[in-house]
């Protein structure tokens, strides 16, 4: 096709023959070799072919930050001790005999392990949710907090607390947070789509407007409440934190993360198609409307659950997908596992900073993520503006 190629017919027939060939008959199943495995998993392709290496590095980073998360706090515990306590708790006394103070064991096992796990689960879930939302609204500037979805979940939770509605049992809070998130996402999407085309600007502006309305609504609910304690409890939802971490709080966010990641990975190919725009996605065989609705519900459920256990933690779902796409490319089959690892690392790191920077006091973790994420978002906007200026 190109003028500079001397012989454009070089192997046209051969290439066309390949395109028109039938798929090979299914062969006997055997374990594929490493080269085949690498190719099949897509690890050998895209972003320089370092997919697996980057994934391993991300996992290593997560491990380091998790150990740091066990070490630091109001009481400092050596890394060796922290890991020994953990191993001892898992394997029993036969491997490592206890040489540490009992209070350290209690701190590690009852406070810090659940806290690190909760931070990791929430961060990973937020990052996966952010990546999913960015694909379904086809906008890399979107995220659960930017679009007001987190605020919607918080408002849902506050409504339940304000009137003490517990009709749905133990999960009332989570369900109302989910419903708040779903309603907000629906409204923002509907507003941004009015008039056919959905532009990034409209979407972000609609999200900001919804956030403002929802935080005003939350304040109104708090200020008119007869319960003087409500304000301090609601503050938790608006700034986010893992201070309430306990073992019994962990199953729900862990299940949410696992389910969310598995569902998103199962749909990774379809999420890829959404990045190409609705018209391309339809032409490539995706039932866009139905798929988007299903993914909306997933994103809202994940946001609702994270907000109900850890409050609004902004920017994780916005910035992690960008960093990951830069490292492993935009293909969701590679990017989703990486973004889960990176999201977990980010919140564990942010939580570490939040509870050590003014120790023994604690900052809400949402402050740290906003201080890191806000400037990053502004930088993205600047970069996008420049890119568009030169491209057109």
């Amino acid at each position: 096709m190109h003028g500079s190629v001397p012989d454009p017919q070089k192997s046209r027939e051969a290439l066309l023959a390949i395109l028109q060939s039938a798929p090979p008959a299914p062969v006997e199943r055997r374990l594929p070799g490493w080269a085949v495995l690498k190719r099949r998993t897509g690890l050998a392709r895209g972003a320089g072919g370092y997919g697996l290496v980057i994934l391993l590095m991300a996992a290593f980073l997560l491990l380091l930050l998790s150990i740091a998360g066990l070490m630091f706090g109001s009481v400092h515990i050596e890394a060796g001790t922290a890991v020994s306590i953990l191993l001892n708790a898992v394997t029993g006394d036969w491997l490592i005999s206890p040489t540490w103070r009992e209070v350290h064991e209690t701190i590690i096992l009852q406070t810090r392990v659940p806290r690190v796990l909760l931070a990791g689960c929430v961060g990973a879930t937020l990052a996966v949710t952010g990546m999913t939302i960015q694909a379904i609204v086809r906008n890399p500037l979107a995220g659960p907090s930017i679009l007001g979805v987190s605020s919607g979940a918080a408002t849902g939770a506050v409504i339940v607390m304000r009137w003490g509605l517990l009709g749905l049992g133990a999960f009332t809070l989570h369900i109302s947070a989910f419903l708040g998130a779903l309603a907000t996402l629906g409204i923002v999407f509907w507003v941004a789509r009015t008039g056919g085309q959905m532009t990034p600007t409209r979407l972000v502006l609609a999200g900001i407007a919804m956030s403002s309305v929802l935080s005003a609504l939350t304040s109104l609910l708090v200020l008119t409440s007869p319960d003087p304690q409500l304000a301090s409890r609601v503050l938790f939802w608006t700034l986010g934190g893992f201070g309430s971490a306990q073992w019994k709080l962990l199953p729900l966010p862990a299940i949410a993360l696992l389910a969310g990641l598995v569902i998103a990975l199962l749909q990774a190919r379809r999420l890829n198609l959404l990045m190409a725009g609705d018209e391309s996605a339809v032409a490539l065989g995706l039932d866009v409307h139905r798929f988007r609705q299903a993914m909306f519900v997933l994103a809202a459920a994940l946001t609702g659950i994270t907000v109900s256990v850890a409050g609004v933690i902004g920017f994780v779902g916005l910035i992690m997908p960008h960093i990951v796409r830069f490292m492993v490319g935009a293909d969701h089959r590679r990017a989703l596992p990486a973004v889960a690892l990176m999201g977990a690392s980010f919140t564990i790191g942010a939580d570490l900073v939040a509870r050590t920077i003014i120790s023994p006091l604690e900052l809400p973790v949402g402050i740290i993520t906003a201080l890191v994420g806000g400037p990053f978002f502004i930088w993205l906007l600047r970069r996008d503006a420049k890119g568009q200026g030169s491209a057109k």
Binding site: M1, L19, A22, V36, M275, G277, S280, L284, G285, A330
Partner: protein, 257 residues
């Protein structure tokens, strides 16, 4: 391997947005292997009509049949395995590489969780090579020129292994060299092609039959020399034109004035 024969049949297709009828009562048939050029002035409804074929626009009346099946009664993936659409452009919000974009064409053939096989990679490699995109394979799609993007979208449609290729103004980003080569290329694929075109002479050179749309209705359909007459051009395009014969090819030749 292509699924189906690529026969296309539109029966009384209309498409309306609110009160406005963009396409009205269009019936036509395209035989397997035939190349049909869709002509008409801006806003005549060419893209709108093509969208009803690849399942983007649901007709407000009438049916679109591919291989004898109504596309709206089949899953989207069923249609995508038979109909490849080359769109005018694709939004570049995400840093997808050219290979990522081409590989998307395989989606409709894949089951859930089924990885890309050696076969898929061979198809993708072949399409990339055929459209001379090797140099851009790992480049971000959004950084390519209009013409290069268009070629990537052709490659994406090819790995769908369609028996019917729908092209929406495929030449509008291309220089004359690439226009000629693209049309020659799709012509030689041997599958059914429906292409919306602006250049009357190129359409006459490459298409078996032409269909002229005007205000959403078929103004004329038939072989190029039957369709491209001074009367029709003055009625549809509101231009005065002389119609002659191409000195070398013998095809019909239109010159304004």
């Amino acid at each position: 391997m292509t699924a189906g024969s690529g026969a296309l049949r539109l029966d009384g297709v209309s498409f309306a947005v609110g009160e406005r009828c963009l396409v009205e009562d269009v019936s036509l048939e395209v035989r397997p292997g035939e190349m049909l050029g869709l002509l008409g002035p801006n806003g005549a409804g060419k893209s709108t009509l093509l969208r009803t074929i690849y399942r983007m626009n649901r007709p407000s009346a009438g049916t679109v049949e591919v291989d004898g099946e109504n596309v709206w009664q089949k899953p989207a993936a069923w249609v995508a395995r038979r109909v490849g659409a080359v769109l005018q452009d694709m939004p570049g919000d995400f840093p997808l590489t050219v290979r990522d974009v081409v590989a998307m064409g395989r989606s409709a053939h894949k089951k859930i969780l089924e990885p890309d096989t050696e076969y898929d990679h061979a198809l993708i490699d072949a399409a990339i090579a055929l459209l001379d995109l090797e140099a851009f394979e790992t480049r971000a799609f959004r950084t390519l020129s209009g013409g290069e993007r268009q070629r990537a979208l052709v490659a994406r449609a090819l790995v769908q292994q369609p028996s019917l290729l729908v092209l929406d103004e495929p030449t509008n980003h291309l220089d004359i060299y690439h226009q000629l080569h693209l049309l020659q290329f799709v012509r030689e694929l041997g599958i059914t092609v429906v292409a919306a075109l602006h250049d009357l002479n190129l359409a006459a050179m490459f298409c078996d039959r032409l269909c002229v749309l005007n205000e959403g209705r078929i103004a004329a359909i038939g072989t190029p020399d039957a369709v491209l007459t001074p009367d029709l051009l003055s009625e549809v395009y509101r231009i005065e034109a002389s119609v002659g014969v191409h000195p070398k090819r013998g095809t019909v030749w239109v010159v304004p004035g």
